[in-house]
Symmetry: C2
């Protein structure tokens, strides 16, 4: 009964506001803790901290000044044909382990991490008044673990940390947030061994809760406001050691790679 | 500034509990209104009502008794090879407009609606003590509009209605909720013409908020509890007339069909 009550409980997403520009070398944990203080908001047991990857990438200096990028002739040709920035095309290809599709100006790659997404997750941005590209963190699961540890050390509280990005999907228009880094919780909720209220075994029921939590945070954050992080409160997560890398379907089990 | 304050507001997902078994001919709107009464929960302006498709399908009699299904020899062979229920395989193929992939016991189809998903969304369930299959609603956008109208008529309040299902994804393990029916709101949040806090145009920024809201509701509902619907409160949606069919990427623009 305890579990049922918990599962029917209210969920909340509380945006963390007032996070300023994050610079290489900054501590993401300290930045968030300072913002929470200003907002008079406390992290409590059971909370989940969700952070958009951009501030993590910036803190980890995963930034490239676009005027330092030398696009190859092939990148130039492709970019010119589709009116893209050849330097961003170049970076997308450099960050890729493999090109999955390349058509009509869209480049879908498999990144070094194994994520399949557009442009290897490379994003144009503005840093210190110059035009830059922000790359994905080198190891977003490690980044999530580090932020989790730093928060535990400073606040004495253990909360799961998710790092997110916006990915497109085949077959459906629009982007949705996904978890690219996970620490401190099971990225899945597994109903496969349980039974529904009729006593039947549930058919397919591995739920990617980390991605659903990322979506929920995306709704709360907004892209125009400076709210690159939020707290999700009220979700009964399972403990676990697997990171977001466990969400990546192995290529041999994938029907679309 | 008004918009910024709104976007940084807290979001809540409130499960609607105590919804009993829904039978063919039942009114989904009345069932939900009765459950809200018992729960002493009011729908208020700005709320979004999210409903898992299963109760909508049952109300619309989109149920097939499995012992009435005659699998074709091909369905039997395929099912036997992968230890599946041949009747479910048969229904999945009958509900498909096209098979997108069929491999290792997994059937990915394009449904009559255009959704690309496993088994055409056909789900095994238990209805009145018999083993049944639940099909997707014939026109989930129309179902959403009907429920929205019925609620407006009875409660005098207009709320967007989303109908959801759990879909798998290429490249990533686990299921996430998606919106298969939408009424009363724009399924997307479009940042393409806006500028980020630095004044730069945002690159790719069509956000599939209807799918993200579906995910948020999925987290709140739980699959083991009887909470097939929830209220999302605090999300600033845009009005719009497009349904979930507008989320389906046209085949000619799709790189994976």
């Amino acid at each position: 009964m305890a579990r049922r009550r918990e599962e029917a409980a209210e969920l909340r997403a509380i945006p963390i506001t007032g996070i300023g520009e994050v610079r290489p070398g900054d501590s993401v944990a300290e930045t968030i803790i300072a913002a929470l203080r200003r907002q008079k908001l406390n992290l409590v047991a059971g909370d989940i901290l969700v952070i958009t990857h951009k501030i993590v990438s910036k803190a980890e200096a995963r930034i490239v000044a676009l005027d330092q990028v030398q696009p190859s002739p092939a990148s130039r040709r492709w970019a010119a044909h589709y009116q893209l920035d050849a330097r961003l095309v170049q970076l997308a290809l450099e960050q890729a382990r493999r090109v999955v599709r390349r058509k009509r100006g869209i480049i879908i790659t498999e990144t070094a991490h194994g994520f399949v997404c557009a442009n290897s997750g490379v994003d144009a941005s503005n840093v210190d008044g110059g035009r830059c590209a922000v790359l994905l963190p080198t190891d977003p699961d490690r980044s999530a673990r580090q932020i989790r540890r730093a928060i535990r050390k400073r606040l004495g509280i253990s909360v799961p940390v998710l790092i997110t990005d916006s990915f497109g999907r085949p077959w459906r228009e629009g982007l949705c947030e996904v978890a690219i880094g996970v620490a401190g919780m099971n990225p899945f909720r597994d109903f496969r061994r349980r039974r529904d209220p009729h006593g039947f075994r549930l058919r397919v029921s591995l739920e990617a809760v980390a991605d659903e939590l990322a979506c929920m945070a995306g709704l709360a954050s907004g892209k125009l406001t400076r709210s690159p992080a939020c707290i999700i409160r009220g979700f009964t997560y399972e403990l676990g050691r697997d990171g977001a890398s466990s969400i990546i379907r192995p290529r041999k089990r994938d029907l679309f790679r």
